[in-house]
């Protein structure tokens, strides 16, 4: 605690965080984990059930099965008819939905605080008593196919992203899209889903997160009542599926009807979960590096690539330091009028090289740190987001307390460390580049002159 205080004192402002004090953690005998965070600002509660399963648990042939199962979770249980779950939540003034990611599947309801019991009763029911009806599945396959058309097939950027991941990851399951390949979507059998459900939907593979105007012990009692009687499952051991070492730059073109070119560059990098203990600072240094490049309108990409040189119409960074498996540090962008994809890539590389050869300034470091400190306060304006953070960390196998430690860990990153990760990871050897080649939208018109492709 003392060291934490010392770190804080060096800051411009003292973080008014209540830290871990208002979070309570429980485990039921059947293995279900319950985490309750008190937030008494408004008489509401968010209840989230997180399962350790997602697209990164899937193999080829059944890709997207976690996602379609998420859809089927609304289609009836032993005592609930199709869609009845949603109707009951609605009648209780609730809002609900679910989402599937690479590493998790999560279900949530937001309710006035005295309705939490409704959520627990229904979630407990569908945790072990789902009914997967063949006819309902056939319809839902169509709905998911429409979802895929909307999100991916008719969206040139999504097509590029999908091709990019499929090429960058050879044997890591991050290879395939969360929603699944269309051919897999069209061929799920009810028996596939039943097996998947049986395997992963169990109290010992779930974390229940509750945030809001609640009393932790009362929530615990409620959880024991509804989730307590559920039988645990022998869950399968997840294979490590460690990505093979990349031995050189990979490039891919995607041709699709589009007006504007677009590109993605990604380097293989570690994340908090995969990094060895001695290098545990590295993901935080990469996070800082992401901030230096793209942490706001004053960051280097906006300042130099968009405003000063006007090479990019838009350019951004994607790096998430919390995932189950090793991931990528990604730069995406569209060149401005009169510039090519090659120009934009060169400009990005110039910025990367600068990070490798020159130390970032103390001013920039301080600025990113100030933003991280402020964001930690802003994030607490949303009960839902607070629940997200806890649930996501727990589900990928990390401690939820990392949400608090995150701020401290970014605070201590040095300019030397930023340079060190820039040198270590931003090598051509681990680079994947994808490019959207716009094809005419009407099948006739020639390509727009602006931002046309030039040879590399």
């Amino acid at each position: 605690m003392l060291t934490k205080f010392k770190t804080l004192i060096g800051l411009l402002f003292v973080i008014p965080t209540v830290a871990a004090a208002n979070v309570s953690e429980y485990q039921l005998d059947n293995g279900l984990k319950l985490i309750v965070k008190e937030d008494h600002r408004a008489p509401v509660v968010v209840s989230q059930v997180w399962y350790k399963v997602g697209s990164s648990y899937e193999h080829n042939g059944i890709t997207g099965i976690s996602h379609v199962l998420e859809h089927m979770m609304f289609k009836g249980t032993e005592s609930l008819g199709p869609n009845e779950f949603s109707q009951i939540i609605a009648a209780n003034g609730g809002r609900e939905n679910a989402f599937t990611g690479r590493d998790y599947t999560a279900y949530f309801q937001t309710l006035e605080k005295d309705r939490l019991e409704v959520s627990f009763r229904l979630e407990a029911e569908r945790m072990r008593k789902l009914v997967i009806d063949d006819a309902e599945l056939l319809k839902e396959r169509e709905v998911v196919a429409e979802e895929r058309r909307m999100r991916t097939e008719d969206n040139p950027h999504a097509l590029v992203r999908e091709a990019f991941n499929a090429m960058a990851f050879v044997n890591s399951p991050y290879h395939h899209p969360v929603i699944g390949w269309m051919s897999d979507i069209n061929n799920y059998e009810a028996s596939d889903l039943r097996q998947w459900y049986q395997k992963w939907y169990a109290p010992n593979n779930a974390t229940v997160v509750v945030v809001g105007d609640v009393e932790p012990e009362a929530v615990y009692t409620l959880a024991k009542k509804y989730f307590g009687p559920l039988k645990p499952e022998t869950t399968a051991t997840v294979k490590p599926q460690i990505e093979v070492e990349q031995r050189g730059k990979r490039t891919i073109e995607v041709k699709a009807p589009a007006e504007l070119p677009y590109m993605m560059m990604g380097w293989k990098v570690p994340v908090v979960k995969t990094i060895e203990k001695e290098q545990s600072w590295e993901p935080y240094a990469l996070e800082m590096l992401a901030g230096i490049l793209d942490g706001g309108a004053s960051a280097r990409f906006s300042r130099y690539l968009v405003r000063e040189e006007e090479i990019a119409a838009s350019v951004g960074v994607g790096y998430g330091l919390f995932s189950r498996l090793a991931d990528m540090f990604v730069v995406v962008g569209t060149p401005s009028k009169g510039h090519s994809i090659a120009d934009l890539q060169r400009a990005v590389m110039t910025q990367i090289e600068k990070l490798q050869t020159e130390l970032v300034t103390e001013k920039e470091l301080k600025r990113i740190k100030a933003q991280v400190v402020a964001n930690a306060v802003y994030e607490r304006d949303s009960v839902f987001y607070q629940g997200m953070q806890i649930g996501m960390l727990e589900t990928i196998g990390l401690d939820w307390k990392l949400t608090d430690e995150y701020v401290e860990n970014v605070q201590v990153v040095t300019a030397e460390q930023v340079q060190a990760v820039a040198v270590k990871y931003f090598k051509d050897k681990g680079l994947t580049v994808a490019e959207l080649v716009p094809m005419p939208l009407d099948g006739k018109k020639s390509l727009p002159a602006a931002g046309g492709r030039h040879g590399r």
């Binding site: 411009l12 402002f13 008014p16 965080t17 209540v18 008494h40 600002r41 408004a42 008489p43 509401v44 199709p82 949603s86 609605a90 009648a91 209780n92 003034g93 609730g94 937001t110 309710l111 006035e112 309705r115 319809k139 169509e142 709905v143 998911v144 429409e146 979802e147 058309r149 909307m150 097939e153 008719d154 040139p156 105007d213 009807p257 589009a258 007006e259 504007l260 942490g295 706001g296 309108a297 004053s298 906006s302 300042r303 119409a313 569209t334 401005s336 009028k337 600025r367 100030a370 933003q371 991280v372 402020a374 306060v377 802003y378 304006d381 009960v383 716009p438 939208l441 009407d442 727009p448």
Partner: protein
């Protein structure tokens, strides 16, 4: 953390919790800006929104003018350039935002309340609001970016359908054009017109200032005064012309090489403060506004698996905003889906909801009312709406009882008078059936 500090914070939580809707404090600044304030002492942060009646409805013959003016405010102010402005905010972790839709143009600031953070952020926010320089290099860059944005629209069936829908629905009304303008109008914009636009519309009497956060009334007054005193007094914007509803339905088909057809259908809907607001709002909630449990979702998605997303909503605006329906489906199913959507609307208009449906809708809306106000940012959004559209201060307090008072007959009556399934503007954007 020190145990005593936790104790203090916890007792603070206990003292302020649980209130149905916030007490709104309301006053005018010396030069006539209207101010709405709700204290929220729990988190050491503050949200400030300044909304002007300076959206695209004020573009006149220059679509894109309002948006570009708004986007230019933080590009140069009081002699400082874009970098310096961005650095000032970001050095203290403050978030500056600007946006402009048809009615409202907005500037916003989110900051920690700690003085070392807040004072520099407020100073810069005031500068951006009151002393924009409109530098020409930024103007040219943002103009180019807007043109690229317009190009990007052409690869999005959703954007194409939306543009066509508004154009056909509103004809010669200012709501017809898109806030982003079109290629010709954006290319023709000049710095002079931006300057004039700013001078006319970014004035105190045309402004609503919203504050939500860990500050007291005295501090809120000081902040509002500081923000508004740099603005000219000016006048509030003139009333917009009324929307003349289209007399005949129309179907527009646009070819696009997509695997789905995006369908948008609708008509002129309601304005803010509309007498039929609650009957139509609750009615539509049942028809297509309540997500997975709405009638449309049941017919289109649950029963037939035709679309992932199907919706209908009223967007109440200063004048009649759109009543819009939409879905996306595989090209060869477009006709069928449109038919089901229309049929569902016609049946609903004719029969209204069942008693059970109305009860369920009321339970959903009123039983979840607290969810609308569970964060500072949501409260700030409501205040901006209440202020901008001059809704009564007890709007939130009376919301539930007004919803509860709606009857099946009122919904049927309002739908029969206001909604015309046979006079819809329908836009289909998509490819040929394979």
């Amino acid at each position: 953390m020190d145990v005593r500090i936790i104790g203090i914070l916890l007792s603070l939580f206990a003292a302020v919790s649980v209130q149905a809707s916030p007490d709104i404090e309301y006053w005018h600044t010396d030069n006539g800006a209207r101010v709405y304030f709700v204290p929220a002492p729990e988190l050491a942060m503050v949200d400030i929104t300044v909304a002007f009646d300076a959206g695209a409805a004020r573009d006149g013959k220059q679509p894109g003018l309002a948006l570009l003016t708004n986007a230019m405010l933080n590009e140069g102010a009081g002699g400082l350039n874009t970098d310096q402005i961005a650095i000032s905010f970001e050095d203290v972790g403050a978030k500056f935002g600007n946006s402009s839709q048809r009615d409202m143009a907005i500037l916003s600031l989110r900051s920690l309340t700690d003085k070392a953070a807040f004072e520099p952020a407020l100073t810069m926010f005031t500068k951006v609001l009151t002393k924009p320089d409109f530098p020409s290099d930024s103007f040219q860059r943002i103009q180019k970016q807007m043109l690229i944005g317009l190009q990007a629209e052409k690869q999005s069936p959703r954007a194409i359908s939306s543009r066509s829908f508004y154009g056909n629905l509103y004809g010669s009304h200012p709501y017809a054009s898109m806030p982003a303008g079109d290629e010709q109008s954006v290319s023709d914009l000049t710095l002079a017109s931006l300057n004039d636009f700013y001078k006319q519309y970014y004035v105190a009497k045309n402004a609503v200032i919203v504050l939500v956060g860990a500050i007291d009334t005295a501090e809120a007054k000081r902040i509002a005064e500081q923000l508004s005193s740099g603005l000219s007094t000016g006048d509030s914007a003139k009333s917009l012309v009324e929307v003349v509803p289209v007399l005949q339905g129309k179907t527009i088909t646009i070819d696009h090489p997509s695997s789905q057809t995006h369908i948008v259908m609708g008509q002129a809907g309601i304005s803010r403060g509309d007498a039929d607001y609650f009957a139509l709002y609750v009615g539509n909630h049942i028809l297509g506004g309540s997500g997975l449990v709405s009638q449309l979702s049941n017919e289109i998605r649950e029963k037939r698996g035709l679309s992932y997303s199907v919706y209908s909503y009223f967007r109440p605006m200063r004048e009649l905003g759109p009543y819009q329906f939409g879905l996306q489906t595989r090209n060869d199913q477009a006709e069928e889906a449109l038919k089901v959507m229309k049929n569902t609307l016609m049946l609903f208009s004719k029969n209204g909801p069942t008693d059970a449906e109305l009860v369920a809708a009321k339970q959903n809306i009123t039983g979840g009312f607290a969810l609308r106000l569970d964060s500072n940012s949501k409260i700030a959004d409501y205040l901006a709406m209440i202020g901008f559209y001059s809704l009564p201060l007890d709007y939130l307090e009376t919301f539930k009882s007004k919803v509860n008072a709606v009857t099946v007959e009122q919904i049927k009556d309002a739908y029969s008078r206001r909604i015309h399934a046979d006079k819809m503007i329908t836009v289909l954007v998509g490819g040929k059936a394979e």
